[in-house]
């Protein structure tokens, strides 16, 4: 994987290998917050920030602590601990220094600890053997791609409130199906760049 430029990975993570639409990561919070565009954008911003930072930290922890010590099998628990600690730290920091930001972003932070996209990006980074620059590009691109998808779907769901959906499909079922259509639309990007 050493030869792919970080920029290509960034573009691929946003469009062709969208973390939500192609890898299904971050579905839980996706369904909960993709009803209004402002909420979706708020969570998206928080995800981009946390995902980029935790990917960088986890890269360092994995390659400079876990591998030398031969503790690679502990990666799951170490990664989730890093993510939880980082989110906690950011929450305290934001609350202390910017109350405005805390009110618009802070409420989403606890949600992020359990967002599988954050942990998923770290795990993909290990599996695909990315370098540091590639990992950071992948983390940032993954966050942007997730945010793009969630905002697009939130826009569709806002419109859908006025449409007459068959009764059993109301709520999550129709949201799933429109996400499927969105995933199909994103497959149109497939020829653009290719990773994996």
């Amino acid at each position: 994987m050493g030869e792919i430029s970080p920029f290509v990975i960034l573009i691929a993570a946003i469009f062709t290998n969208n973390i939500l639409l192609a890898n299904f990561l971050g579905m839980c919070s996706f369904l909960a917050v993709s009803k209004e565009i402002p909420t979706a954008a708020g969570l998206g911003a928080a995800v981009i920030f946390v995902m980029t930072a935790t990917t960088a930290i986890n890269f360092g922890v994995y390659h400079h602590v876990l591998v030398p010590l031969g503790l690679v099998y502990l990666q799951f628990i170490v990664f989730i601990a890093v993510i939880a600690a980082f989110v906690q730290f950011v929450e305290m920091f934001v609350e202390r220094f910017s109350l405005h930001l805390y009110h618009s972003l802070g409420i989403f932070l606890p949600l992020i600890t359990v967002n599988c996209a954050i942990l998923g990006v770290s795990l993909f980074m290990i599996i695909r053997k990315y370098t540091f620059a590639q990992s950071v590009a992948f983390g940032f691109g993954g966050g942007v791609g997730w945010t793009l998808a969630i905002i697009l779907i939130a826009g569709l769901r806002q419109k859908m409130r006025y449409s007459d959906v068959p009764r059993p499909f109301r709520g999550v079922a129709i949201a799933m199906i429109i996400t499927g259509v969105m995933a199909m639309a994103f497959m149109g990007f497939a020829g653009m760049v290719r990773i994996q």
Partner: protein
């Protein structure tokens, strides 16, 4: 997480419903009435990702049952000595332990499958089903019935995954568990089913069918969640 897991327990009257502690009732509610995937829509990341083949779906189902039973047992055993404030961390540590054990077993005896599932075994840690059941059930119930609850929810997840995996593999490749069942002379596999959009649409339809089969008013509740 906590608030997403708890609605399952609000609906039933104390002592009579799934939360009352009756083993069979608990099992039934996990598999059918409050099915974690189709009714509560939890843990769908992996439900979508690994269901492109039936075999993957089955292994993932086994993983969820294993982790769910183990986590619920230990969370329940430790429920009286865990300080309330750090219970989340304690739960995550217990879940991660079982996930690591399963991942190591898979890597040792079933390397091909471990490669296929990729990061999704590790992502069981952030699976809302496990955390939700530990938080909503095991934290306030005795060990044995908690294990049954973990088993029920794990099975409920496994059954839904098996159904989706069965249809996606059948439509997408014309085979079941790798055996060709639809003859290629008259059936052209629809590749879309094994790709990402197929997963979303399949789960959407499954949830709709579940809604139609169970209660009609469930949909309103879901819409407001």
């Amino acid at each position: 997480m906590a608030d997403r897991g708890s609605p399952a327990c609000v609906g039933c009257a104390p002592g009579t419903g799934p939360c009352g502690g009756k083993g069979m009732e608990t099992l039934r509610s996990g598999v059918w009435i409050t099915n974690p995937v189709a009714v509560q829509v939890l843990g769908i990341c992996s439900a979508l990702a690994v269901t492109n083949r039936l075999e993957n779906s089955l292994v993932m189902g086994v993983a969820l049952v294993f982790v769910g039973v183990g986590t619920n047992l230990f969370v329940s055993l430790l429920r009286n000595v865990t300080p309330r404030r750090i219970r989340m961390i304690a739960e995550v540590a217990i879940i991660a332990t079982f996930v690591i054990v399963f991942d190591q077993i898979l890597k040792a005896y079933y390397w091909e499958m471990s490669k296929q599932l990729g990061p999704y075994v590790g992502l069981i840690i952030t699976n809302c089903i496990i955390m939700g059941r530990a938080e909503a059930f095991a934290l306030s119930n005795r060990p044995l019935v908690s294990m049954v609850d973990g088993l029920g929810n794990g099975l409920g997840y496994a059954v839904v995954l098996a159904i989706i995996g069965f249809f996606r593999e059948l439509v997408g490749t014309g085979s079941i568990l790798g055996h060709q069942v639809l003859l290629s002379e008259w059936y052209t596999p629809n590749q879309l089913a094994v790709l990402a959009p197929g997963a979303f649409v399949a789960l959407g339809f499954l949830i709709a069918i579940f809604n139609a089969l169970t209660r009609a008013n469930q949909t309103d509740e879901m819409g407001s969640q």
